[in-house]
Amino acid sequence: MSTAHTRTPDTKPMVRDRTALWLFLGYVVLVAFAFIYLYPFLVQLTTSFKTNTDAVSNPLSLVPDPFTTSAFGELARRDFPLWFTNSVVVTLLVTAGRVFLCSLAGYALARIKFRGRSAIFTAILAVMAVPGVVLLIPKFLMLNYLGIYNTYPALVLPLLVDAAGVFIMKQFFESIPESVEEAARIDGASTFRIFWSVVLPMSRPALITLTILSFQGSWNELPHFIVASQDSDLFTLTKGVATLTSGQLGSGSQYPITMAAALLMTIPVAIVFFVFQKYLVRGGTSGAVKG
């Protein structure tokens, strides 16, 4: 004990120096990684305002010379506005549907006592475990069988429910104290009434998380739209923009146009991300992960 005491005065500065050194190294690492993470987005942003020659001959430069918005004009002349509209419509429908249906099901599984509940929950867990890519062909088969392949409902209906969403909502509803609902039940409110006017208003954080996850998921979805339609009127942003690399523009060397398209399709998600970051950070670790 006494030796430790006498040692403290001269070891402390060294420890502090070491901590400072580690901190410094930490910053060096973080700044290097931040460069790797931010630079591609800066390139994307600035290249979309370049001319094609400038983009090809000065790829490293972050200053467009000359500055031009012709890439955006070109996109506006093509089908881009149509893709954007389709994406907005599909995303809104899917998000609204998912939030409503997942909360309904999640509430029933968390709170309502009925026979078959645990079996349903097990089934939903099993569904969550099925890898999505394996479902591409099955989905096409069903859409084809129902005769809705190549229609708007084909884009929306299969995305309307999400087992992971049901799971998230169930977990949340289980954390709400039951006494609140009991009071309403004694007053004679119906189950739906209790769900709608008592439970949902208390569930803002979970609802926001689910809204964001659904928005981001359906906005970024690609494989489902590939198998659900081939009509170019039904192209969403992801599917339409993917054609820019090969189809419409030839060899795909029109970098300012592709960068402008990538930028425009990133902006809505970016806004949602920065506004609701704390919900997304929380949900991202509980929900699905993209590969």
């Binding site: 099955p138 060397s253 592709t258 993209k290």
Partner: protein
Amino acid sequence: MRGAQSIRQGQARAGWLFVLPTLVLLGLFLAVPVLMALWVSFTDWNGRGSPFASGIGFVGPDNYRELVGKDGGLTRSDFMTSLRNNFYYVLLVVPLQTAFALFLALVLNQRMLKAVGFFRTAFYFPSVVSSVAISLVFLFLFSGGGVVNSMLDAIGVDGPTWFNDSRGLLHLAGDGLGLWNASEPPSALADGGMLGLTWWQWLAGPSVALSVIIMLVVWTTTGTFMLMFMAALQDLPLDVEEAARIDGAGRWGVFRNVTLPHLRPTMLLVTTLGLIGTWQVFDQVYVMTQGGPGKTTLTPAFLSYSYALENQKWGVAAAMAFILFLIIFAMASLQRWIFRDKDALELKRQERRTTKARAAAGSAA
């Protein structure tokens, strides 16, 4: 009494009503379609008409045999190529994304570090951006005269034409080490082989083109997994770490004996999610390479899609999807087993250590 019963009945009805839409949609677009696809995988359906019409030929396990059987032709070698590519892809992506995620989480977890929020946001942001947008950006970054090659040029390295380069990294490495001449593969490897590919082809490693997709995916997914590690690290009580430090453990010792064991469940989660995700790579291949160059970025998911929707070979394509499903399932189970086994072993070892220590203490007393 009657009232209570009717309430219970009302509850049961409400419960079913609440889950009904979800059940119907999941059944309609998930459960039943999987069964339909299972049927199709045993037929020679060509995409015309209904796969359940009477004229559709039932071919038994022929489609599966064509993929993994003895005398499969081009289909088998395509499928094996895609499995090879995806295997190398998984082998690199999963460890890299896990290591980077853990590393960044540890760096960000340092006390006294400022601007944690900024860095966390920067690293996580790519995870929420569309894979199509990111693929386009990487197509530009890694184009022949693009950003990456210009940077390499600045330090005197002649960069490859990334997306046209089908050379395998292991072939190149062996060539560089003088093990073989990549343009004239050793006959021992080039003559023999299995399942439609020569040993030389099996041992190619990821191609240069595939390695761009590997970099892209590691870059995008690291942020998500970093968040998971950060959450787990925050659960680790600071005093545990401090106690270990006071006991004289060095930084490395604390990491190995305190932090790492604490992170084991997260590690299992991260690697499982990584494994499941990486066997499904599709978007990036679809946008960036369509399987080329030289089929070196073909993946089972993309191959299955292109056989079905582009070549109308639905039976074989469905069979591929089911084999892929089995692979993912087997990998995830295997990995769970490995982790669990180690846990049990560790527990046993600890028990033995404590009994030994106790015995020693007992005898000392």
